[in-house]
């Protein structure tokens, strides 16, 4: 039984694309057949984060316009079997695809894949409407900032209005030392406002930037704390009970030392 999940946030730059890449990669590492769909037409990024940019010949707009078959546009990942990317077009805009076409596309993909992850563009306009059109479930990404939480709240309301109930929350880029000092919103504060189930918390980690630039999702890095957080998040998505990892380690020398021993 296959499932389509849209990854959305409202606000830009909170980690939708990075999360899509990491969740999809780990699902594939666990043996599922996964299709990643980039719906950010005109501002595509998922291909870059996956390191597959130079393989794009056809894209999502070519598929819906009938210029190529769906299979021709799907790009096989260079590391994991069963992981495929359907890239967005870069030379078009969001109006090149309609929600009806997206629904058809997702249902076609469902015949081949266990999971279809849809990377949603920022905003609440047509790109958002396209992205959620064929989705069974939604993951809402936010960061511990008031503005991001505000936008997440708006998105949750819009998802509910489109009959996408019970979205799951991912809090990205949390800095425990700042939370401790009272300079950053706590996990509790965010859940208090948004009142949806928490799927995972990803610590702020500069290695994510490095791995995104290299086109290698951090979830493949055994030693990375953020990678571990993504792996746990996927386990919870699959229905397994995994506690939140203790992110409460400082960034000083002792903190790094402690982390080293914990991970070893």
């Amino acid at each position: 039984m296959s499932e389509s999940i849209v990854i959305t946030s409202g606000k830009g730059g909170v980690g939708k694309t990075t999360s899509t890449a990491n969740i999809g990669t780990y699902l594939a590492m666990k043996g599922y057949k996964v299709a990643l769909v980039d719906t950010d037409i005109g501002l595509r990024n998922l291909d870059v984060v996956m390191g597959l940019e130079n393989r794009i010949v056809y894209d999502i707009v070519d598929v819906v316009e009938g210029q190529c078959r769906l299979k021709q546009a799907l790009i096989k990942d260079k590391r994991f079997d069963g992981l495929y990317l359907l890239p967005a077009a870069q030379t078009r805009d969001k109006s090149a695809v309609t929600p009806e076409q997206m629904q058809k596309l997702i249902s076609d993909l469902k015949e081949e894949f266990d999971y279809i992850l849809v990377d949603c563009p920022a905003g609440i306009e047509q790109g958002f409407k396209n992205a959620i059109a064929g989705a069974d479930r939604a993951i809402v990404i936010t960061t511990p900032e008031v503005s991001a939480v505000r936008d997440a709240d708006r998105i949750i309301g819009l998802l509910e209005a489109s009959d996408l109930h019970d979205p799951l929350l991912v809090i990205n880029r949390i800095k425990m030392d700042m939370v401790k000092r009272g300079d950053m919103m706590d996990i509790e504060d965010i859940i208090d406002i948004l009142a949806i189930d928490l799927l995972g918390v990803i610590p702020d980690d500069e290695n994510i930037i490095i791995s995104s630039n290299r086109g290698e999702p951090i979830v493949t890095d055994e030693k990375s704390l953020a990678g571990q957080a993504y792996r746990n998040l996927v386990e919870r998505l699959l229905g397994n009970d995994v506690p939140l990892i203790n992110l409460d380690v400082g960034n000083g020398f002792m903190g790094r030392l402690k982390r080293l021993f914990k991970m070893a």
Binding site: G42, L43, R44, G51, E53, N54, R55, I56, V57, K78, Q90, T91
Partner: protein, 214 residues
Amino acid sequence: MIKEAIKIQGTKEGLVIVLEEDVDIELLKEKIVNRIEKSLNFFQGATLTVRVKSLNIKEENLEKLKDFILDKYGIEVQIKNFQEKHIKNVTDDEIFNGLEEGITKFHKGTVRSGQVVKYHGNLVILGDVNPGGLVQAAGNIVVLGTLRGIAHAGFTGNKDAVIVASSLRAMQLRIANVISRSPDKEDANDYPEVAVVKRGKIIVKPLYHLNDLW
């Protein structure tokens, strides 16, 4: 003397009205009607071809204009884009053969992500082509900067077309229907290089190997 914006020529495709300037639908109508009324007998029964330099007119308006003239004077009018006819071998179905010497476009500036520069001839980019940018030419492509995006030479089918760049770091190179992508671990060279099709594959070499071009 004021340059006449409308000329009449007799060619093998019949009588041709050439409009040198950009026109809107009203002006086009006025010009054609004026011309026909001036010498109605001359035009009677002929097919009239109108070529305009740039056609910023909706298809349905053109149809209305054609019907109007057909009804009023019994003259059939064809309206064609000026440029299309002046470039030889330019339609998508025909292979462009002007590689050594042919019509060329010079594009000023950087081609950025999401931008497409397409030309039915040879194409020279006076700038860079960034990742996500696409340059397409029926003939050769020369990039006088760094080519980081996608270049498609000979897109109407000419496999002899070449791609030249001062610095060739393209994401993808396409010549006619042959595609190659950049290696995942790339060591880019800082001297000019040329990409050609050899035995069905695209190969890249330093630009001074010019003997086997075309």
